[in-house]
Symmetry: C2
Subunit: 242 residues, 2 copies
DNA sequence: CAGTGGTCTAGACCACTAT
DNA sequence: TAGTGGTCTAGACCACTGA
């Protein structure tokens, strides 16, 4: 089941296996999952390695541990965690909602100008803009800027039906280190208002997000324009893991 | 230096020591901190224990590791992380901004009614409302609800000049496990508009936050009404730790 | 090359839970 | 009491960095 020759660490492989079993329902909410010792024996690995795998699931909020009792699958949260670093489509998929997507501006290289808040201001960057719908209603416009040098060749990749964060991970082997986002309430411009089915001057939630990668701070910058009247945007904030 | 008889785990003690050295500037940004092996020898503990301590610092964003090179103190982030679980005053303090506070409704027991989104709806709960100012400008009104049974005796505690999250930690030994918050853009009621120096119907950012404690989900619920025109609200999102 | 962090093992003792 | 998670040790091998 586990491949110790793989470059993927054992604890990561095990974490993936357990995650899949939870997502598929094999381990259902409230149920106890096999103990650390039994998993260690079953897979022929050490208990610390099992713990390391479970640590990641605890941080993701999939399980919780009760000393003396066991480890249990958490009941899934009721809301859409939109503001995580994993990417917007991932946020919807974890809820069983399939978001609709409409490209507004296809990926292109462009020079960013007149936007001092944009870390790419004055430089060339990849740019795309897209609309997200839920249950056929427009809820979100995303402008995304990506570092032109770091993501060299991005315009050669077919992005249709692919998660942008997956492309970044699989093609460039880049995993977000952390991010900073700021929240504002702003009035919409005319063109964006039309896309979201609103009138100009309707206020929306504007989220500006900067994502940092190892040795490449701010390599992705995105601006989200969110309708909040038909859909509640939410996020889960992890606590500290013991 | 470390006390192995203490009920506080060794890795936690070491994490506190290292955190303090970073906060005090003894280890300054960019500087390499002692290697895991040297710390293990110095404190007479195992290397995995040192790693466990450093893991927490990585998750807090205080340090980052570079394989083959060492572990380094990160440069502090530039913005105010308002939407963390640590509490609002903590968010300002880490930036050197001393927020002004004005109590609107002092702590009292009240029965929550007519608010289906409030987890305390139909029950009695502690309630308080306060205004936060930055640089003498109103920026934030907070309504806070706390579980009446869990925080029994809270009304006997002098809350002036104390962080609410500190009181919860120090008096009730409760550490937030995680939280869920939802974001909306809403128009203000007349009374709150006045407090924030706005006119009625001015849209503000409304954040509803539910904080979960071990064995006490949703024991704290708060609603934040935020002006976003004079002050940008931001947060840092941690990535996954390897 | 020596030193670093990344991973992993095979144990150990403890506090706690359920029965 | 048996089984669980929480902590900790003493080692090991590897990939990687920097001199």
């Amino acid at each position: 089941m586990l491949n110790s020759k793989s470059p993927v660490p054992l604890y990561h492989q095990l974490a993936d296996i357990l995650t899949e079993r939870i997502r598929s329902g094999e381990y259902s909410p409230g149920q106890m999952i096999p103990s650390e010792i039994s998993l260690a024996k079953q897979y022929g690995i050490g208990r610390p390695t099992v713990r390391q795998a479970m640590d990641t699931l605890v941080r993701k909020g999939l399980i919780h541990r009760r000393r003396g009792a066991g480890t249990f699958v958490k009941r899934p949260e009721a809301k859409v965690d939109l503001f995580s670093l994993a990417g917007t489509s991932q946020a919807f998929l974890t809820q069983g909602i399939r978001p609709g997507r409409k490209m507004i501006s296809p990926l292109c290289l462009k020079t960013v100008e007149g936007d001092p808040e944009n870390p790419f201001n004055g430089h060339r960057a990849f740019f795309l803009s897209r609309l997200t719908l839920a249950q056929d209603r427009p809820i979100l416009v995303e402008d995304i800027f990506l570092d032109a040098e770091l993501f060299l060749g991005l315009d050669k990749i077919d992005l249709r039906d692919k998660s942008l964060s997956r492309v970044v991970m699989d093609h460039y082997y880049l995993k977000p280190e952390n991010g900073v986002q700021t929240f504002k309430v702003e009035a919409l411009s005319g063109t964006r208002a039309k896309l979201l089915g609103l009138t100009r001057k309707d206020p929306v939630l504007v989220v500006k997000r900067e994502i940092n990668f190892p040795d490449a701070p701010g390599a992705v910058y995105s601006v989200l324009f969110c309708r909040t009247d038909t859909f509640a945007f939410s996020q889960t904030i992890p606590g500290e893991v013991s």
